[in-house]
């Protein structure tokens, strides 16, 4: 009789949103490996229709309370693309600073609040406080630096308000910039130690080669602009996205799933970015990565935790250099003071969890006719299942509790953002 083993995680804790994992192994064969999202769909693309293009970013922000800044930046860039607006360097720099702030707070949360407790056999970060008080205090402080920069520059920490089409409604003062630089530098040491700390964790040994996709730019670490490249030779502009990336549905999940046309599922996020843009990392980030033996490309999805630790150094360094090189020349703009016209716009931004695609079509009055948003977790969802399939056989060898924990750790390594993934896609 062949041995049947079912693993079921009803509600994966310490991720954003509501999802379950179902794995069934019969004999040595994996019969199913599913990531089922039961968080309900939210129909953003349908109710954005008929709204003004100037408020697309404000609405899109509510797709996700964790990666609101990248949603705002992607929506703004897509709308500006459609309106033919070229934004100035100052606006670009400030948007990048805010997106980095979001990456810092999200990565600090993901690494220390969500992933690390697993490696210490703890249910959460708070229960680690008595044994590791400095670690917990610094992790909280690092997350706070990201939130505080967003609050000071964006008007508030979650769903900031100063970002608008073609600029900012408030321009940071010299004092704001100096303060941000100090706050960032104060956390640099902890971020550096973080790489060694994470590298010392007992990260599962597992490898599955798959396509990694990330934004890339010639002269900088790309998070807000660039071309989409991959480990399999993809090299396209945001405008060409739909010709290359395709979405499918299943009947057991509210999340759509992406594949590269004619190929397979793919991985996006910190690991893909570090693998594909290793050269563009700051010197200290590169050094730290080399010190712990990170040699790109790394195809172990559990190593995303280490990639986040590496990116935390880069985000601090790059933010500081943005501040140092920033020359404030342009004043604030008034919301929706641009001239409206018909257009189609496209943009791709790196959210903390990976590439985020936004596209809008609007009519001559600037009213949205069509919206299309694909989030990092939708990009990754099929790939998570492929990893679970590959992981399943070895789960037979360990106890059910350990097997469940390992599945949860894998899902958490992707740091999925479920609310994002069910925001809902494309109205034709």
């Amino acid at each position: 009789m062949s041995q049947v083993r079912e693993i079921r995680v009803d509600y994966v804790a310490r991720i954003e949103g509501q999802a379950e994992v179902l794995i069934k192994v019969v004999g040595g064969r994996v019969e199913e490996a599913k990531l089922a999202v039961f968080e309900p769909p939210r129909f953003f693309e349908s109710f954005m229709i008929g709204r003004r293009c100037g408020e697309a970013h404000e609405i899109a922000s509510r797709i996700c309370g964790i990666c609101h800044v990248p949603h705002q930046v992607a929506a703004l860039e897509a709308v500006e693309d459609g309106l033919g607006i070229e934004v100035d360097d100052q606006t670009r720099a400030l948007r990048k600073l805010l997106n980095y702030a979001n990456h810092i707070s999200s990565h600090a949360l993901s690494v220390y609040f969500l992933s690390v407790p697993d490696y210490f056999g703890k249910p959460d970060i708070i229960s680690m406080a008595s044994e590791h008080p400095d670690l917990v205090r610094n992790a909280i402080r690092l997350k706070k630096v990201g939130d505080d920069i967003t609050e000071r520059f964006g008007g508030r920490a979650i769903h900031p308000v100063t970002l608008v089409v073609n600029g900012f409604t408030r321009i940071p003062t010299k004092a704001d910039l100096e303060w941000a630089k100090m706050e960032l530098l104060a956390m640099k040491g902890f971020a550096m130690e973080g790489v060694d700390f994470v590298a010392d964790l007992d990260i599962p040994d597992f490898e599955r080669r798959c396509e990694h996709i990330a934004l890339s730019q010639e002269d900088q670490y790309a998070i807000n602009e660039g071309r989409l490249i991959s480990t399999e030779g993809l090299d396209i502009s945001p405008r060409e996205y739909r010709a290359h990336i395709e979405e499918t549905h299943t009947d057991y999940s509210w999340t759509k799933r992406s594949i590269v046309r004619g190929r397979d599922s793919f991985l996006v996020g910190p690991l893909a970015r570090v693998n594909l843009n290793f050269d563009k990392l700051s010197d200290d980030a590169k050094e730290a990565a080399k010190r712990v033996g990170f040699k790109p490309p790394v195809f172990n999805p559990f190593m995303a935790v280490l990639a986040r630790a590496i990116e935390l150094i880069n985000a601090i360094d790059d933010s500081v250099s943005i501040i140092e090189n920033l020359r404030i020349e342009k004043g604030p703009v008034i919301e929706e003071s641009f001239e409206v016209k018909a257009g189609d716009g496209f943009a791709i931004v790196e959210a903390p969890r990976g590439i985020l695609y936004h596209s809008y079509s609007f009519d001559s009055k600037g009213m949205i006719k069509k919206a299309d948003v694909v989030t990092p977790t939708a990009h990754n969802s099929r790939n998570i299942e492929r990893d679970l399939e590959a992981l399943a056989p070895e789960l037979r060898e360990i106890s059910p509790e350990e097997a469940i924990l390992k599945c949860e750790m894998l899902v958490r390594a992707y740091d999925p953002c479920i609310s994002c993934s069910v925001h809902l896609v494309e109205v034709g």
């Binding site: 509600y11 804790a13 310490r14 991720i15 949103g17 509501q18 039961f38 968080e39 309900p40 769909p41 939210r42 129909f43 953003f44 693309e45 349908s46 109710f47 229709i49 709204r51 408020e55 609405i59 509510r62 797709i63 996700c64 309370g65 964790i66 609101h68 949360l109 609040f113 407790p117 249910p123 959460d124 708070i126 229960s127 917990v136 909280i140 997350k143 706070k144 939130d147 008007g155 508030r156 979650i158 769903h159 308000v161 100063t162 409604t169 408030r170 549905h249 299943t250 009947d251 999940s253 509210w254 604030p332 008034i334 919301e335 953002c417 609310s419 896609v425 494309e426 109205v427 034709g428």
Partner: protein, 259 residues
């Protein structure tokens, strides 16, 4: 005395309100000294099922599953607090309630198939449409100080001080130049509940109304001013009032009528 048990529960929302709860981080370590975090899926894997002394609920109700969970939670919780606009008003996602279901269904090729398995209402309603809510914390998201104030109140058994005056009061206290009166820009401050510290006008931007209606909001009078003074069309006005709190009685007429 046993520590009061707190649950943070998510319905249909963006997690921004839960993130704001996590932003009490400075106080978090002290707070866990006073509170037993019994349920917080986003933050811990040690979750216990009630009864709870306080349940903070983020998000609106949009599936039968959530409705069942909410009713159960209500029975098991002494105090049920609606955390944020989605839970209090339906927030921005409630705009979908005005979209004909056949239109929103188009977004999934196999909508009906998934629908039958996964169940969804395709409509968004605040918690109070279904159960008794003891306290509503407005805002998208509510400010962490408000959340802290509410938790303290719950711990001490006293009514927290929540601001029901308009954003304009906070705006005046910050000595901002009024964007509506002086620049003729369409600000929702006069009808919007305070609590954000006038975040937008203090940063050069009009208030979009993300805290929902203040008490006794005079929506029709502001609509008239926005039409005359700022040149907003009828559609513009519907769009404004249907944005964060179109389901609320105070705004529903200006939002194009109840649905």
């Amino acid at each position: 005395m046993a520590k009061p048990k707190l649950a943070v529960v998510k319905m249909t929302g963006c997690a921004g309100c839960q993130m704001e709860v996590l932003r009490i981080e400075d106080k978090l370590l002290d707070l866990v000294g006073a509170i037993d975090m019994a349920y917080f899926y986003m933050a811990t894997s040690a979750n216990r099922h009630g009864p709870y002394d306080v349940a903070l609920v983020e998000g609106s109700v949009s599936t039968p599953r959530e409705l069942r969970e909410l009713k159960e939670l209500r029975e098991r919780s002494k105090l049920l607090i609606a955390l944020g606009d989605c839970a209090c008003t339906g927030c921005l996602p409630s705009i979908v309630n005005w979209v004909p279901p056949q239109e929103s269904a188009k977004v999934y090729e196999r909508f009906l198939e998934i629908h039958s398995k996964k169940e969804s209402f395709q409509k968004v309603y605040p918690l109070s449409a279904h159960v008794r809510v003891d306290l509503e914390l407005r805002g998208c998201p509510p400010h962490r100080d408000t959340i802290l104030e509410a938790l303290k109140g719950a711990l001490l058994g006293i009514k927290p001080f929540l601001r029901e005056h308009p954003v304009c009061v906070e705006c005046k206290m910050k000595e901002n130049v009024c964007l509506l009166v002086c620049e003729g820009r369409p600000c929702m401050g006069p009808v919007t509940a305070a609590g954000c510290g006038a975040a937008c006008p203090s940063n050069g931007r009009v208030c979009e109304g993300c805290y929902g209606p203040m008490s006794d909001a005079n929506a029709s009078s502001l609509a008239e001013i926005l039409a005359k003074r700022c040149g907003l069309s009828k559609e513009d006005l519907i769009g404004k009032f249907r944005k964060y709190a179109g389901l609320m009685p105070a705004f529903s007429k200006e939002a194009g009528g109840a649905i």
